[in-house]
């Protein structure tokens, strides 16, 4: 085979790691690397101590093919050159805009459809779209109208523009919640047209604050191909230049709220999260002056120092109707225009700062590309929404129904007050309400007049029944006389009863006769009404009680002060009699509680569970890992976008018995003896965030795995257990449905689709084809990672989660494929290569690096297996720990996680394990004695234990008193510590490198020289926020990696005429939408991209080589839908038949570099491609 050649000897580095083949190496690097013996020996020694030396390794087949010619002298220059080419037209236009003044804003806005242009000289004309190379742009949307843009303004140095929607001009009855292209704002084409105004699509740049939102309302952005408009987001630029971590955001807001309120907020926040917050000790607040939160107003103040923008008009769009907008049209237009003006001012200031702080052209070009996200969808989107919602509703209904049955059954306890003996239900409010009539008015009392007419004649009256209408035709007077003495008829008597209706209370009594807790669950019979205890749900307070939930066999109990907990029987210190009463004087069924536990123990004996505890979590760790780690690491980093609710991290202290009274046989969070129920102790349910937190609902997501492992069980039997199961199934959709269903989808008409699509044999006339433009903030965090709440956090399909097939519903239109790949262990590799570069300067020289490159699961030498065996946990769990550590989470995190995996582990055990793990990986701290301290020590006649200037923490402490004394006698306040480092662990070198970057005066990413946000620069923060900075090094380098890939792909697509576009990047994966016939060339382009990107990393870190094992993606997925693995069928309760049978979607192909080279003849050129035999036919369903 072409690509596999033995013409050259396999290249190995000194520790036997296979490197790129010679031909590949020579095309990328200028020279062979050198390996000083001393470095090699150091590395070998190090590997030996970690038992990694001499392990068997394997070699991969060589890869050899002709790469596209690189531009410039080296790979760095190459990247600079291609990035410059890509961004030049946009940058040029942006610079002109940034350096110009805007014309005067019009005084009056024209009330007419579409775009209007206002040149500076008073000319007002209708235009198809603003014909400008660069534009600042802002859209306003009246929320009550749904996804339809209401009005917009734009400005360039030449003119102002306004846009008004049809719907604002004239009332439309709203039919479809989905906008069509005609509802959107034109930017390059006339209304109704799909062709660009000029001869061809032109490069234009649109600038806005959070511009991805505005972009989603622009018509041409929904075209699959064509437009060359790019977007620059002043919010993302701000984040890169001066962004805050989420913890800083809290502090920032607090400081602005004023000293008193501010400090209170901070205290509350820190006490809630137990953040290390050293009061005023925070090394200065200077960073507050060079940063701000993200909204336009504050960003504007930061960059221009200008006056605060007025934002009151915004309310009209949020709360008002179109009519309200109409009424204030001029003001609102001006409001919108002022935002444009402010954005322009910001941008003028930002652009030079950005270019200075982010000097590598790839950063800008990468961000431009990242602003092009595009998710194609088809009719299956609607089907998915329907299926998920219906399945969800169906299950909700089922769950509700079982709960209603339980509630109904519980009513039986009303009779003879039997509820008093129920261990769960005794404490509900069983009081009832009586239906009483108003007092009879005295005058009316005797005179009940019976007025009957023929209408009420009832044919059902027995024909031989008494004639009841004898008195009808008599005069009033006579009648009155007769009433007294005439015998009342049956009808009279019934009528009299009926007339009591007049005395019913005006406000209808709600279910008199029913206990209060039950009535509260029943909706009142008005409007749309459903019978029974319909308001019950998994969230209702009464539900855990009706389900008769037990924690480790103990009945659950809710206490207003303590939240949810459970009752442990056996307490004697508060027993008055056999069955006592609680504080409220209610009978408490002490014995019944005890019986519950006895019954549970009996059941347990009967069905002994033998499953090892650890295995129960393996599934969890696998599926949720990404979500979970990100979740945890976000918290531990104190980072994330501002929308994510700040949740606290972890806590090492679990409260134990206060010494008064506690059970010997049970340990838990408590007891809390202020819950004084006779004969029982109250323990809180453990909260994931620590013992100090009260549990609001034991049926919440966090307890799902406690139900799976049998800790939390329902004593109410079969239906109750099914309820718990259903609760688990609906959890995903319950959390995601609002975000998913509100995705703005625009369907394209046939003529709006490329012909490749509409003429494809798979095209369905009645099908729907369209796209979602995800509102991705291209740099949404301080590490410049993209942020978006739905797609960038989407987890993978799980068989027991309704709607979790979400990602797979992003589907390529006919004639197109997705190609994409996960960067294998991206962050581990980045961290490792930094460590390697810092240690002996070649790939794999540190243990961590070696494990990342050469470790094998089979021989237990890969990172996760190694951690697993070190502390005796499963490999899946180890994975969570490993990522967490690299994200900067410390030992307390590990403890917390260990306890979460196994709540029966004691605090001490968890603490010990965590310590052991950190010592083995991160290593232990050593401190470098300062010159002065060394001297003092010498003068005192002592030496350090190691004989060098490096000492342990314990030694620092023991030395400190003597040395300090000596020093203070000498030269006053001097620190005895001059530096710190990690030693002894597999990852020590890596952490040392990260910390050295983080603590440098001007932290920059090692590859693209991106400077850290001003808000984290040591000059402004002193020694605070170290964790955030350390974490930033890896995370921000990962963003460099992504930007390099995006730029490289664009270069190859352009150069080789590959018909395709960028779709999205989620975590460490990228997806492109490419024309089916180009899919293998695109796959090859992606492989080359990975090779060049990694080579760029190596080159910039001074290593002119790359290990073969990381040179290429292990596989490029060629698929028609977005999914984690090409053969995942994504069966879920809402997609019971999977993608293949349910949707007719075949599995995709996962191609490795060898397969791709074969399919492409090792060439990106179209003319070199082998003839394609047969198109990949979709499976026909139903057979």
């Amino acid at each position: 085979l072409l690509y596999c050649t033995s013409a050259f000897p396999t290249r190995m580095n000194p520790i036997d790691i296979q490197m790129l083949s010679k031909p590949l190496h020579d095309q990328i690097f200028q020279q062979e690397p050198t390996y000083p013996t001393e470095d090699v020996e150091r590395s070998v020694r190090h590997l030996k101590t970690h038992d990694l030396w001499g392990k068997e390794t394997s070699t991969l087949p060589e890869v050899d093919f002709k790469l596209p010619d690189l531009l410039g002298e080296n790979i760095d220059e190459h990247f600079k050159e291609i990035a410059r080419q890509q961004s030049k037209p946009y940058l040029d236009a942006a610079q002109v805009l940034a350096n110009s003044r805007l014309p005067t804003m019009p005084r009056e806005w024209r009330w007419s459809r579409g775009w209007t242009r206002y040149d500076g000289k008073g000319d007002v004309t209708a235009v198809d779209y603003p014909d400008e190379e660069a534009l600042v742009f802002d859209v306003e949307v009246c929320m009550s109208e749904g996804d339809f843009p209401t009005l917009a303004t734009a400005a360039s140095p030449n003119a102002w523009y306004s846009w008004v929607s049809d719907r604002l001009l004239e009332d439309h009855y709203s039919w479809s919640p989905r906008p069509t292209l005609d509802d959107l704002i034109t930017m390059e084409t006339a209304v109704g047209s799909i062709k660009p105004g000029g001869a061809d699509w032109r490069e234009k740049v649109v600038i806005g604050h959070n511009v991805s939102y505005d972009r989603s309302y622009i018509k041409e952005q929904y075209f699959m191909k064509g437009p060359k408009t790019r977007f620059l987001d002043t919010m993302s630029l701000h984040m890169a230049i001066s962004g805050l971590t989420s913890f800083q955001r809290i502090l920032w807001l607090a400081s602005r709220a004023g000293k008193k309120q501010g400090l209170k907020d901070v205290r509350e926040y820190t006490s809630k999260t137990r953040k290390q917050f050293k009061g005023q000790g925070i090394g200065g607040w200077d960073w507050l002056n060079v940063s701000s939160i993200n909204n336009l107003g504050d960003v504007h103040v930061l960059y221009t120092g200008g006056p605060k923008l007025k934002k009151t008009e915004r309310d009209v769009f949020v709360k008002g109707t179109l009519e309200d907008v109409r009424n204030q049209f001029q003001e609102l237009m001006t409001y919108c225009a002022k935002d444009v003006q402010a954005t322009h001012e910001i941008f003028s200031m930002q652009l030079p700062m950005f270019l200075e702080r982010f000097p590598h052209p790839v950063t800008l070009a990468g961000m431009l590309e990242m602003g092009q996200c595009y998710l194609p969808v088809n009719s299956n989107w609607e089907r998915y929404l329907r299926d998920a919602e219906e399945t969800f509703q169906d299950l909700q209904k089922e769950m509700k129904l079982s709960l209603m049955h339980l509630a109904n059954d519980a009513c039986h306890l009303m009779h003879d007050n039997r509820y008093q003996e129920d261990p769960w239900l005794w404490e509900l409010d069983w009081s009832t309400q009586e239906l009483t009539l108003k007092k009879e008015a005295a005058a009316k009392k005797k005179r009940v007049k019976v007025e009957k007419t023929d209408e009420t004649e009832n044919q059902n009256v027995e024909p031989d029944g008494k004639s009841t209408k004898k008195k009808k035709k008599k005069g009033k007077k006579e009648e009155a006389e007769e009433v007294e003495d005439q015998e009342e008829t049956e009808e009279d008597r019934v009528q009299r009863v009926l007339q009591t209706a007049d005395r019913l209370p005006k406000i209808k009594r709600h279910m008199p006769g029913y206990p209060t807790w039950y009535r509260d669950l029943c909706p009142k019979m008005t409007g749309v009404w459903s019978p029974g205890p319909n308001l019950i749900s998994a969230q209702a307070r009464v539900t855990p009680k009706l389900l008769r939930l037990r924690w480790d066999g103990f009945p659950l109990h809710y206490d207003a002060g303590q939240g949810w907990g459970y009752l442990v029987p056996g307490r004697t210190d508060n027993m008055g009699g056999a069955d006592g009463q609680d504080n409220a004087g209610r009978n408490f069924p002490t014995k019944a509680v005890f019986d519950v536990y006895k019954e549970y123990l009996k059941q347990k004996r009967d069905t002994k569970d033998k499953e090892p505890l650890d295995q129960r979590y393996s599934g969890w760790a696998n599926d949720d890992m990404w979500e979970h780690i990100l979740d945890l690491s976000q918290k531990s980093k104190g980072e994330g976008n501002g929308d994510v609710e700040e949740d606290p991290i972890y806590d090492s202290s679990v409260l134990y018995s206060n010494g008064e009274s506690a059970p010997e046989f049970h340990r838990g969070v408590g007891p809390y003896n202020d819950v004084d129920l006779p004969g029982v102790w109250f323990f809180r349910l453990p909260h994931k965030d620590g013992a100090k937190f009260k549990v609001g609902n034991p049926l919440a997501k966090d307890y799902l795995n406690k139900m799976e492992d049998g800790t939390l069980t329902a004593a109410a039997g079969g239906p109750a257990n099914r309820t718990l199961e259903v609760n688990k199934m609906v959890s995903f959709w319950r959390n995601a449905r609002d975000r998913v269903t509100s995705q703005m989808v625009v369907w394209l008409k046939k003529k709006e689709l490329p012909r490749i699509v509409s003429r494809n044999s798979d095209y369905e006339e009645e099908g729907l084809y369209g796209a979602i433009i995800p509102r991705v903030i291209t740099a949404g965090t301080v590490t410049r990672r993209a942020v978006e709440p739905t797609w960038l956090t989407a987890s993978n399909a799980r068989p027991d989660r309704v709607g979790s097939e979400l990602k797979a519903i992003i589907q390529a239109p006919p004639g197109y494929h997705f190609i994409g790949a996960d960067v294998d262990s991206q962050e581990l590799w980045i961290a490792a290569i930094l460590g390697d570069a810092n240690f002996a300067g070649f790939h794999g020289c540190t243990s961590f690096g070696w494990m990342t490159l050469q470790g094998k699961k089979s021989s237990g030498t890969d990172l996760h297996s190694k951690t697993a065996s070190t502390i005796g946990i499963s490999r899946d769990h180890a994975k969570v720990f490993n990522y967490g550590r690299i994200y900067g989470a410390g030992q307390p995190f590990a403890e917390r996680l260990l306890l979460q995996f196994n709540h029966r582990m004691t605090q001490e055990q968890a603490s010990e394990k965590a310590k052991q793990m950190y010592a083995a990986t991160k290593g232990v701290r050593e401190y470098k004695l300062s010159e002065a301290a060394q001297q003092a020590l010498a003068e005192l006649g002592g030496t350090t234990q190691s004989g060098t200037e490096w000492v342990s923490l314990a030694e620092v402490r023991s030395l400190s008193r003597a040395v300090r004394k000596k020093l203070f006698l000498g030269s006053g306040q001097l620190d005895i510590i001059a530096g710190r480092r990690w030693v002894g662990g597999t990852e020590s070198e890596m952490f040392n490198k990260l910390e050295s970057i983080a603590n440098s005066a001007e932290p920059r990413t090692p590859v693209l020289d991106c400077r850290i946000s001003r808000a984290l620069e040591p000059a402004y923060v002193k020694s605070e926020f170290v964790t955030s900075r350390v974490n930033w090094v890896v995370q921000s380098s990962a963003v460099d990696y992504l930007h390099l890939m995006l730029v490289c792909m664009r270069w190859l697509f352009n150069k080789y005429n590959i018909d395709g576009r960028f779709c999205i990047s989620i975590h460490d994966e990228v997806r492109y939408l490419v024309r089916s016939e180009d899919r293998h060339r695109a796959a090859l382009a992606l492989q080359i991209t990975n090779l060049l990107t990694r080579s760029m990393f190596a080159y910039r870190l001074g290593m002119d080589d790359l290990p073969q094992s990381v040179a290429f993606f292990s596989a490029v997925d060629v698929d028609t839908v977005m999914r984690k693995e090409v053969n995942m069928d994504c069966k879920t309760p809402s997609n019971p038949h999977g993608l293949t049978r349910g949707y007719g979607i075949p599995p995709g192909d996962a191609l490795d570099i060898y397969q791709i080279l074969e399919k492409t003849n090792s060439s990106l050129r179209k003319e070199d491609q082998p003839r394609e035999k047969k198109a990949n036919k979709r499976i026909s369903i139903g057979q």
Binding site: T391, E398, L435, E490, L498, T500, Y518, P719, Y1143, I1181
Partner: protein, 392 residues
């Protein structure tokens, strides 16, 4: 799964209850048992049928309900049904025939219906009707396998490309339907038998946990176009319909259940044994929409016949409003005994009056499931019960 013995005893218990209250009477006859339905059984069947029709015909897009004569002229043997049925499509009686299933008759409406829709696909044809399936002898399973069944059948004609999506949709809809009225929705499961060897077509069974084990209550089959190709051959008329602009012979989606199965299922589902105040008692928890009688009025007693007049009024008032109401003449038992009786009958509500009612008009409406007596004014009864009947 229950042991055969206990399965039989559960069924026997149900049969006894059904006989006692006039749900079903079994009449022994040569060879096989014939079942006749008393007032409660007939109303239950009517309600089930109405719900099926509403859900399958009225609320669906272009599903047409049809009705055929039972005695049809003899059709040519239909060779395209599943192998077991190929021989002897119908029971022949003299020169007449009684159908074994409805599908053949339903299919005869294909062309006329297609024409009414200008050949546009998809559409469906539904029928509820008597048929006489030929079965292999099985052990007695009460209503599950009677000689004469009332089938509820629907054939849906879909463009082949979309058949999978429709197949899924109908499965979900039907499952929802079954669960909607159930007291324990989880007793229903869907089983995909498409991969079973003996299945010619993809088939999904909705199953219920019967006392003798899990068994089918509805079969949903995605048949290909062979039925229609066969019809083309026999009639000489094209069966092609329009899918957008394309002409295709549709595939046939078939769903079939029996009123007898549905009745049995909900009777079993509803039948609950509870211990109330230390006495074992049976409750028939039928959904209010299915319950034959929505309410029982307990005849008033004492006080110079006035209470009786009030309850007469109530019963008449409710009946006039079309609320099926049980009002048994002579109360020989205490109210509590009557409640027990109505619980067994599956009546969701009972209305009682007492001396107080004469003065206040307040009646006591007891709910079968909660056993709680709600105080409701006589003038509100009609409205309240109608709301319950109309609610889902």
């Amino acid at each position: 799964m229950v042991s055969p013995k206990s399965a039989a005893s559960v069924l026997e218990g149900l049969a006894t209850l059904c006989k006692t209250h006039g749900y079903v009477y079994a009449v022994g006859t040569a060879g096989q048992t014939v079942y006749n339905y008393g007032a409660l059984g007939a109303e239950l069947r009517r309600n089930l049928q109405a719900e099926w029709w509403q859900s399958t015909v009225t609320t669906q897009d272009n599903v047409f309900g049809i009705e055929n004569a039972i005695q049809q002229s003899l059709p040519a043997p239909d060779v395209h049904r599943t192998p077991g049925e190929a021989v002897g499509e119908t029971m022949q009686t003299g020169h007449q025939s009684l159908p074994q299933h409805l599908q053949h008759g339903v299919l005869s409406h294909y062309h006329s219906s297609l024409q009414l829709l200008n050949n546009k696909l998809p559409f469906g044809l539904a029928e509820v009707g008597r048929c006489f399936p030929r079965r292999t002898a099985e052990e007695e399973r009460f209503l599950y396998s009677t000689r004469e069944m009332t089938a509820m059948s629907m054939l849906y004609f879909v463009p082949p490309k979309k058949s999978g999506a429709w197949f899924d949709l109908f499965q979900r809809q039907r499952m929802q339907w079954w669960r909607k009225f159930a007291s324990s929705p989880s007793s229903f499961t869907v089983v995909d038998t498409s991969d079973a060897e003996d299945m010619t077509y993809p088939t999904v069974n909705i199953q219920f946990a019967f006392p003798w084990g899990v068994d089918t209550v509805e079969r949903i089959t995605l048949r290909d176009d062979s039925d229609l190709l066969d019809l083309e051959k026999k009639t000489g008329l094209s069966c092609q319909g329009k899918d957008g602009r394309k002409l295709v012979v549709p595939h046939v989606l078939e769903m079939e259940t029996y009123l007898e199965w549905a009745s049995l299922v909900y009777l079993l589902d509803g039948l609950t044994q509870v211990t109330r105040t230390d006495v074992e008692q049976k409750i028939l928890r039928l959904h209010c929409r299915l319950a034959p009688y929505k309410v029982a009025v307990l005849p008033g007693r004492g006080t110079a016949s006035q209470l009786r007049e009030i309850t007469d009024y109530i019963a008449r008032d409710l009946r006039t409003a079309g609320i099926p109401c049980w009002y048994s003449a002579d109360p020989q038992h205490s109210n509590e005994q009557q409640y027990t009786w109505y619980d067994e009958m599956g009546v969701p509500f009972s209305v009682a009056v007492n001396e107080n009612t004469i003065k206040t008009g307040i009646t006591l409406v007891r709910n079968r499931d909660t056993t709680i007596k709600e105080q409701v004014h006589i003038s509100q009864l009609q409205h309240m019960l109608l709301r319950y009947m109309q609610a889902d």
